[in-house]
Amino acid sequence: MTPNSQSYTRTSPLKDQLLAAFQVTEERINGESKSAVHQVRRAALQQFDKLGFPTIKHEEWKYANVKNLIQESFELETPSTLSADDLHTLEIPNLSGNILYFVNGRYKPEMSTIVSPASDVQILSFAEALKSQPETINNYFARQADYQENAFTALNTAFAHDGVFIRVPDGNVVEQPIILRYINDAREKKVAAQPRNLIIVGRSANVKIAESYRSLGDMAAFTNVVTEITLAREANVEHYKIQNDTDTAYHIGTTQVHQADNSHFYSATVTLNGGFVRNNLNIVLDGEYCEAYMYGLYIPNGRQFVDNHTLVDHAKPNSYSSELYKGILEEKSTGVFNGKIFVRQDAQKTNAYQSCKNVVLSPEATMNTKPQLEIFADDVKCSHGTTTGMLDDEALFYMRSRGIPRAEAQALLMYAFAQDVLTQIKIEPIREYLSTVVARKLAM
């Protein structure tokens, strides 16, 4: 795609800062600069330089206005003074398994716990994997996540130095979940983090992964994350993305999933809080008899902005995808759901379902929904539906007639509405934690 002049901002303080930072990094990594990975980074940077940041004239960024973000400049390599005690306040109760901490985008081994044996699953930082398994990285890095059209993916690719690398060998079932906690320490300075995650799941292998995003402090924190997940045949992956961030946080993320025959991908994206959130979930069903499930829940309030873009690409016959996103919007918040489904000409017997349901609790809140189905095969079953409405008055009256006051009835109804998605989360402590936060947020 040739960048349209109105769809991108050519120059901005953030862009200048990042271009300069790339030069500095390139000099510092010196010997590595000839590596294949770095060639990809450089190509991505050139593409980012060419594109610039998208404006609201860009169809995919119509509601997601990044104009404030790109005026900022951030500390890119802030050594965080975050201590284990500071982390204590961010704890998710009863969480066990493999828990990895990333502070300002950098892996913190001293805070992290890896319990699964290395024979079951390789869990390394991306930085380590770059050194210890360059071959694998070359084979998988930036193969799925497109940096030609998405400026933020290009940017992340250009700055791909740390994050997580997970590889599950064929046939292995990873019993313990892998929890990735991304913390931005914005207590003293504005920080930016660009984690890059690569997850490779072998044939008939099983793994549960959760990404959680939190910032500390009142300064602006910018996360630009890309997670690439590749599922071999018959692989099963559960992937959760949990956001309970500050009002001064910007989050832009892409989860790029590639599925081979008979694989199952199961995802939930839950956004409880965050100033500006844009989640892209792109799934390519590049095999037959694949299944992909996508759940989403967002509960913005104040002036929070939450934008979920999903793309399901049915490239082969006989696969199934199902999508349910739900939103509760309070105060002056804005929500966006854009769900695209492609059914390629070869993808006969595709079943694809999409549903997006929203409750707008305030006259000043806005929800924008856009389902897009592009179907090129003729023997398919596809459906989509979006609803955006107020609370169900009849249900409220029913509850009140039993003695439950209006505010409690509303909270109970909204909690139940949210539970539809929360019950899909199979890592129990995370589900409990989210339920608690949701209940607290809805107790209006």
């Binding site: 169900d392 008055d393 009849e394 249900a395 009256f397 029913y398 509850m399 009140r400 007639s401 039993r402 003695g403 439950i404 006051p405 209006r406 409690e408 009835a409 109970l412 109804l413 909690y415 139940a416 509405f417 539970q419 539809d420």
Partner: protein, 252 residues
């Protein structure tokens, strides 16, 4: 217990209740019958506090309190219970959870301590037996995917749990086959007591074979046009509503 005087109510521009007078004493069962569109369900809704209706005149005293001043939840806490004609499906909220919330909110209103889980479960077991309802139904989302009979039985179960002073059954017989009707009616009958009054709103007489009223009132065009003992229901069953309509037209 309940004194309705010259109650008038409308929805939008449409006047539906045009001056209802009714006195219900403790322990009595009153049946409100009438053809479709006569205002029966409106009366039930207005008593429970549905906000779609505007009360334009008249008064309702419940145990000496001005009922019309109270919010629906306050009326419930004062002891009014409406069994819905179409119980609402509440996805994600189990009957158990729903009732525990309701009971404790009512107790809070009355200045009583909340029931703990053990007390609540004990009470629930007791009432389940009384109205013959299954545990599995109560763990499911409230009314979601329930059959017509299950929904109505669930209404009676809620009534048993909340122990209202005045129960209003709005077309409880609608959509029920004879077996379901009998089970529901048995539940209601077991809850009859000298302290509890019941208003049975129904189009058909058949429910009154099972829930035998002390008084029958015929509602027509927003007014009670005829009142009598339970035998009036049989007469209506036999002759239909036309003779009442004719009588009213004649009087006018």
């Amino acid at each position: 217990m309940l004194t309705i005087s010259n109650l008038q109510a409308s929805i939008g521009e449409k006047e539906i209740l045009k001056g209802i007078n009714l006195e219900v004493k403790a322990g009595e069962v009153h049946a409100i019958m009438g053809p479709n569109g006569s205002g029966k369900s409106t009366l039930a809704s207005v008593l429970a506090g549905r906000e779609d209706y505007e009360v334009t005149a008249g008064s309702v005293l419940f145990d000496g309190k001005d009922l019309l001043e109270l919010a629906p939840e306050e009326r419930a806490a004062e002891g009014i219970f409406l069994a819905f004609q179409y119980p609402v499906e509440i996805p994600g909220v189990s009957t158990t959870n729903f009732l525990r919330t309701a009971m404790n909110e009512i107790r809070k209103y009355r200045g009583q301590d909340a029931l703990d889980a053990v007390q609540f479960l004990k009470l629930m077991k007791e009432k389940m037996k009384l109205v013959n309802i299954d545990q599995s139904l109560l763990s499911r989302s409230l009314n979601e995917g329930f059959s017509g009979g299950e929904k109505k039985r669930n209404e009676v179960f809620q009534m048993a749990m909340l122990e209202p002073k005045l129960a209003i059954l709005d077309e409880t017989d609608s959509g029920l086959d004879i077996d379901a009707l009998r089970i529901v009616a048995e539940g209601v009958n077991k809850l009859r007591s000298p302290e509890r009054s019941t208003i049975v709103v129904t189009h058909y007489q058949r429910l009154l074979d099972y829930i035998v009223p002390d008084y029958v009132h015929v509602l027509y065009k927003g007014r009670i046009v005829k009142s009598g003992p339970k035998e009036l229901a049989f007469e209506l069953e036999e002759k239909g509503y036309d003779w009442i309509k004719a009588e009213v037209e004649y009087q006018q």
